[in-house]
Amino acid sequence: MDLENQKRVKEFAEQYGKDDVVVLIGAAEGEAAGLAAETVTLGDPTYAGPLAGVSLGLSVYHICEPGIKAEIDETVYDEQISMMEMVLDVDDIIAEMTAVRDQL
């Protein structure tokens, strides 16, 4: 995850508390989604950014996960996300995201 984004997520978590922050990921690949999810939960696996060694343990989901999709207005989802949903390997993304959450 981009170092600046790591810093911003860290600041939000400190400002609002970890229970009131949900991170929504839009990465196009399972591996990239998993890495981003790992960064905001267990810490930066590349040890390069502000979240290196910092386990925020935030709630984290991908926009294409069924639980999130159900929360969004159907028309908006169709306009904004449905094209990508057709393109992405959603099962792989769900598996990666679940694997990270299972480690918490």
């Binding site: 196009a28 690949e29 591996e31 990239a32 590349t46 904004q80 094209m83 990508m84 057709m86």
Partner: protein, 519 residues
């Protein structure tokens, strides 16, 4: 009648920059600050490729036009360990451009230096001068200024250690330095000057290759637009600019002026639209769009490549130049009336972005997504991006365009893979931001259109403006390149036009020759 500007020719160049990966790539310079003794920095030198390996790397051969993008179709990744069957015959020169070694590139930086900032150790300078003097595009006269470099290695060392100069290495040894251009101004620091001189030198080399590949007289170029991602200026005008005119001067385009167009990775598409509009409006006859590459992105994904036991694949500084001219009745036309725009109100979801760039443009002229034979979006080489977890960028773009065609009812969902194969290509361009952005295909598109293999291609430039922290917006523009109808402005189809007839005959002869060659 058609007053569209045409694509007259292209040039694509690469300069090997293995030592610059270590000392100038931001992934490495950042690591040296954050984690100086890291395993990555220790292992890195063993992962650098030789010049020969860089030259025979298949995507690089495609970039300079020695092989068609078709050679990458069905070629299993990884590509770094594969060679073309005729690899031994393919050299550093291709129909579009050339690959030069790092020492020659350092010499080009010295030639491109107008302020006596590049200092080279005397024996290295002489070796490089001799090599460049023998190069057909540089020669004795252009390489002569390198001879003024008479510095000893002690002087160079002192410049680096005491005078804040930026070191230049070749094969692991200190061979020169770029001095700072001001004692206090950070915009003229040695770091910035090296970065800007590298960009300028690679643009100069591409311009020289464009003169060779198009045969245009240097004095006939009226205007140059630079579209790289660097900024030059001092503390009072940080992005004051004009890389374009600076490079045009060294390339000998004595009748040209120019300016810089910026827009992150989308800049080349913006620049080509500007150039085509200037020509169509009759303001200028011959406009060149050019860009050098950047040192900062060298080894950008190096950490992942080293971790996976791969060579450092981001080891070249790229450049390209494109000549856009008045309609000659033969060359492909730039349809600047079929353009897509990501507007302020478009939104940032991929669906909104692709719709604004592809369908909005086509629907305005009653065209369908499937009417475009080939799309050229972000043509990053997947051999570089996939091991770094960034996926196959062109493929993702093609899938998105295909998914949009499904939503529009033009194809079935089951046809997405076929659409990607038919209307797409494998990526071959180095990951230098603006370099892979739509433009790498222009050279092949011109040839494919003139050979009658395709009729229409869409070039898509996309840019991440949020990186500059001025806006969270995304950006992009697109345009269509199309076969020339043979009609030029002011001539009706029924009128006899000698130039047009000659053009048509030339085109027919070329197609006949191509078909005979294929047989």
């Amino acid at each position: 009648m058609s007053g569209y500007a045409v694509l007259k020719g292209t040039a694509y160049t690469l300069a090997a920059a293995q030592d610059m990966v270590l000392y100038n790539g931001t992934t490495q310079t950042t690591e040296r600050i954050v984690n100086p003794g890291s395993e990555y920095l220790t292992a890195l030198p063993k992962h650098l490729r030789s010049f020969e390996e860089i030259v025979s790397y298949i995507p690089n051969q495609v970039y300079i036009g020695n092989a068609s993008p078709d050679v990458l179709e069905g070629l299993a990744l990884p590509w770094h360990d594969k060679r073309l069957p005729n690899s031994d015959e393919l050299g550093t020169k291709g129909k579009f451009g050339e690959i030069i070694s790092q020492d020659m590139f350092i010499g080009l930086m010295a030639i491109s230096d107008a302020f006596d900032l590049v200092k080279l150790e005397r024996s290295f300078a002489e070796q490089v001068r001799e090599k460049l003097a023998k190069h057909e595009l540089i020669g004795e006269e252009k390489s002569a200024p390198i001879a003024k470099n008479q510095e000893s290695i002690e002087i160079i060392t002192e410049l680096v250690e005491k005078e804040h100069a930026e070191a230049i290495y070749f094969n692991g040894a200190l061979v020169g330095a770029v001095k700072r251009a001001h004692d206090v101004d950070i915009n003229l620091s040695a770091h910035v000057m090296l970065e800007n001189l590298a960009t300028k030198a690679s643009s100069v080399f591409s311009l020289l290759c464009l003169l060779r590949s198009t045969g245009i007289d240097p004095g006939d170029v009226d205007y140059v637009i630079d579209c790289c991602e660097e900024a030059c200026g001092d503390m009072n005008q940080r992005g004051g600019g004009n890389f374009a005119k600076a490079a045009a001067e060294i390339a000998g385009l004595h009748n040209a002026t120019g300016s810089d167009v910026r827009g992150f990775c989308a800049a080349p598409a913006h620049a080509i639209l500007s150039a085509a509009s200037l020509v169509k409006a009759g303001t200028f006859k011959n406009v060149v769009v050019t860009a050098g590459g950047c040192t900062a992105k060298l080894g950008m994904n190096g950490r992942d490549h080293v971790k996976k036991g791969l060579p450092i694949l981001e080891d070249v500084i790229s450049g390209f130049s494109v000549l856009i001219s008045e309609n000659d009745g033969v060359s492909p036309v730039i349809r600047n009336d079929i353009t897509g725009r990501h507007t302020v109100g478009t939104g940032s979801s991929p669906q909104a972005v692709i719709s604004s760039l592809v369908t909005n443009a086509l629907e305005s002229k009653g065209l369908k997504i499937t009417d475009i034979d080939k799309y050229s979006p972000e043509m990053q080489n997947p051999d570089i991006t996939k091991p770094a977890g960034a996926g196959d960028v062109p493929e993702s773009n093609y899938k998105m365009i295909a998914a949009l065609a499904v939503k529009k009812g033009e194809i079935e969902r089951t046809e997405i893979a076929d659409f990607v194969k038919k209307h797409g290509m494998q990526g071959w361009a180095p990951t230098q931001g603006h370099i892979p952005s739509g433009v790498p295909y222009l050279g092949f598109a011109k040839d494919d259109i003139m050979a009658g293999k395709i009729n229409k291609a869409m070039i898509i430039g996309k840019g991440s403006l949020f990186l500059g922290r001025m806006t969270n917006l995304f950006d992009g523009v697109s345009f269509v390149l199309e076969a020339n109808s043979g009609e030029t402005e002011g001539a009706k189809a029924s009128d006899f036009d000698e130039k047009k007839v000659k053009g048509l005959i030339a085109n027919a002869m070329k197609q006949l020759a191509d078909s005979i060659m294929k047989e």
